[in-house]
Symmetry: C2
Subunit: 496 residues, 2 copies
């Protein structure tokens, strides 16, 4: 208690602002606390008397008293009757911290990230453009979503639903929604399943994570389509899987090459309806072959049926799950494409024995999925709004595809060779001049304010010819021709 007064130190740094929305006594309290914590006023320092500090600062004495009292109750200050108020003896305050303020941390400390977190690098590459612009792949027609119907349905659930809808909800999802999903996959995908085989997830991505955590040991072998789903592949790696690249041929996933080149698989990741991103439909024979492999080797199959609702020329083959009589297929569905991404809902259909484990793992990842959103969607489906929306979107996307294909053929036919596009929400074009660097083409397009993705970002170890992906689903009709013309201008000089 040698240091007689910290008033000087205090006064020199105090910046009280009567115009701030934080009350003066809180500002004072924070300032004193910070001085104590940073060693500006050491343990044992006597603080100025309340009357004196109030007078020095031109504030009321009550303000100072309030601040001292709070800091006293927190343990920073001690009062000694008759002797005044002192900074308490606080452990570990001997060495004042080297870094004086949290704000100045930026760019200073070097932190070690875990090794596994390195697997997320590829994912970052897809996030260059935010928001929704033509031709962003993977985003549905948000301009045509029936917002009013949805707002009404949601508002009804919030105002008049059971109070439990605001709570954590039933683990694994609401029965009403599972029933509607079971009908949906039966009608659209030929899948006969019991609603109890369904876990409602916060999107397909969460389903991949649940599967990896629940069924794979670290180091497990995963055969993965290449090119393939970036997020699913990175998630498998993040969770310790040994991911092996399998090329995609005319019949889809090249099983024979996988068997020849790789260790036995614990899990295969496939997109049979519409290969992600190439759009190839896996042949029936290939489907039967991978089902047979899975059965013989106790291997799991993730069937990611990500945009199967949108086919324009033919009806889809039934889902792989519909052909599986050995219980090896884990079917993942997304509502981000058929409804909208911000809904954050998807589903995982699995053998009934696995549902409990998936549900428990989900509660550890992020608790349950919002019962309010689930209930709203169940009602939206029950009322027929969901099916009506899908029907409308299918015909809208077909129209947008036609516009884009036509426009690209007319304006960019000498630069791009169009891949067939019979389903889904994006068009792939291959560069005719294969020496052109794919990424510089993509960069030029981005710079012109048009969105796209270079196909190579989907590749792991395979090399494809240079190509670009354009999403047409989210592009309003009147922006399609305009977008293509911007690309023409952007590429002038780049590809010649």
């Amino acid at each position: 208690m040698s240091n007689r007064s910290g008033g000087g130190a205090l006064l020199s740094v105090l910046r009280l602002d009567a115009g701030d929305r934080m009350p003066l006594y809180r500002q004072l309290e924070n300032a004193i606390r910070q001085q104590i914590l940073t060693g500006g006023i050491p343990s044992g320092t006597r603080l100025p008397a309340t009357r004196q500090l109030a007078s020095d600062l031109g504030i009321s004495r009550l303000t100072v008293k309030n601040a001292y009292e709070q800091l006293g109750s927190e343990g920073f200050l001690e009062s000694q009757r008759g002797a005044g108020t002192f900074v308490a003896n606080i452990a570990a305050m001997e060495q004042p911290p080297e870094v004086p303020a949290a704000a100045s941390l930026a760019g200073k400390a070097q932190y070690d990230l875990s090794e596994r977190s390195g697997s997320v690098a590829a994912t970052k590459a897809t996030t260059r453009l935010g928001g929704v612009t033509a031709f962003r792949p993977g985003v549905p027609a948000l301009d045509r979503f029936p917002r009013k119907a949805w707002a009404t349905a949601e508002s009804r659930a919030i105002r008049h639903g059971d109070a439990g809808l605001l709570g954590y909800g039933k683990p694994g999802g609401l029965t009403e929604l599972k029933q509607q999903i079971a009908i949906h996959v039966r009608d659209h995908r030929g899948v006969q399943c019991d609603p109890q085989q369904i876990v409602i997830t916060s999107g397909a991505q969460q389903a991949f994570v649940l599967i990896a955590l629940t069924l794979l040991e670290p180091g497990a072998t995963v055969w993965f389509e290449d090119p393939g789903h970036i997020g699913a592949r990175d998630a498998m790696r993040l969770l310790g899987a040994n991911v092996m690249s399998v090329p995609v041929g005319d019949d889809g996933f090249e099983l024979a090459e996988a068997i020849r080149d790789h260790a036995e698989a614990d899990l295969m990741f496939v997109t049979p309806s519409h290969q992600h991103p190439l759009g190839i439909t896996m042949s029936l024979n290939r489907r039967m072959e991978i089902l047979e492999y899975a059965k013989q080797h106790n291997c799991w199959i993730i069937e990611d049926d990500y945009d199967s609702e949108f086919r324009y020329s033919d009806r889809a083959l039934p889902a792989l799950l519909a052909l599986d009589y050995s219980g090896r297929v884990l079917y993942t569905g997304s509502l981000s494409k058929s409804m909208f991404p911000a809904l954050r809902l998807g589903y995982l259909i699995s053998p009934p024995e696995l549902v409990e484990a998936f549900t428990a793992a989900q509660s550890l990842l992020s608790q349950n999925v919002s019962p309010l959103q689930q209930q709203t969607l169940a009602r939206f489906m029950l009322d027929g709004n969901f099916n009506a929306h899908i029907r409308k979107m299918r015909s809208l996307y077909e129209q947008r595809r036609d516009l884009l294909v036509d426009s690209v053929e007319r304006h960019l036919g000498d630069v791009f060779e169009l891949a067939p596009c019979r389903a889904g929400m994006h068009l792939i074009v291959w560069l005719r001049v294969e020496t052109a660097a794919e990424i510089s083409v993509a960069n030029s397009i981005w710079d012109a304010g048009v969105d796209c993705l270079p196909v190579s970002i989907y590749c792991d170890t395979q090399r494809l010819r240079p190509g670009i992906m354009f999403g047409f689903a989210c592009a309003p009709e009147n922006e399609i021709e305009e977008g293509v013309k911007k690309i023409v201008k952007a590429l002038d000089g780049v590809t010649n």
Copy 2:
């Protein structure tokens, strides 16, 4: 092509139902596909002519033609001009599957779950009762949530917001919401942070997962409060951490014991404001000691500030994060308690260098958090509705706590000794007769339709005296006395 006709096999199993909402041709198609897949009609089998099958089944010939055509396009059937329609030669169909139908899978197959998935066992124990009933711990007053204001805010965002609000949203969260959260933690928790240090998560639980994935290697040492947060502990184990139990004393987390008994920590998990579940406030000295330990050993600290908004007798100590000048504290906040669980929003405040890695890991776990919900909340906060709600709830919870404490003291004072309850949303009572089995007491209470949790489910290796937790926040005032009386009746005979 020896087998001349599959008509008999087909006819014997076909069950078409004209009343089903699935069209007849789809029913027929599914039935034939299933017969082919299960070996009921082998490769090379000639199917009945369309006219004959239509006549046998009493349906239109067009229906049969439609079904044959679809199966032809899928590759299951082949037409030979003049010779008829045959089951195609499909690979891997030689051995008919052993299990004839997906529905019969239940209870048959034995699947191996991953070892790590075993860590979720404890989590399951907390889910015995669903929904919201008195006295469920951890659930806010859903009966008093301002539903109308929220419905209006959300409806406005859905109808009139930018279309991007329906999309995936900005990785890491919307700036508007981060700004509001920064103000909230400044005003309520004494934390000065830049909005850019915040990642919006789908709840505190997701923040724990992001931290473990991004900063811990498998096998990392985690010191964990015991009793402590079940979900956080299980998540750490699920993701490979070596979790070590640290007891909780009068000053909180027993750092000295941890140092004495365990390997050096890579991370500590603490709840300084209101120990989870015991409610102890960590002393200032203990806070400084663990900050000093973290600094010296490059150890991370998760500060879970889970219900810090609700204190009844005193103002809270500032958050640990507010005392940290070395950048080792990772602060997790939940909006499930201050708003409602179905909102699925929380936040993680960290040194700015880590934000990008957390954001990338989040995109792998479950994509981004709904921008629609974020925008709605940001507006709700900006309009002052959030602060007003917290103020109302604080006084409501204080009132409910008083009612519960009073009622338990009057009716159950001879059975239970009440722990002090100055903050939070639950009351802990200790059994006076320590020989009574805690779980049988809890079971009796559950059987009477009243919710509660035995304190021991929060324990890892520590043993506490038998105790029960009652949540009072979600219990309407008129149900409190009634609930306590049910407990009195339920325990009659159990504890004497």
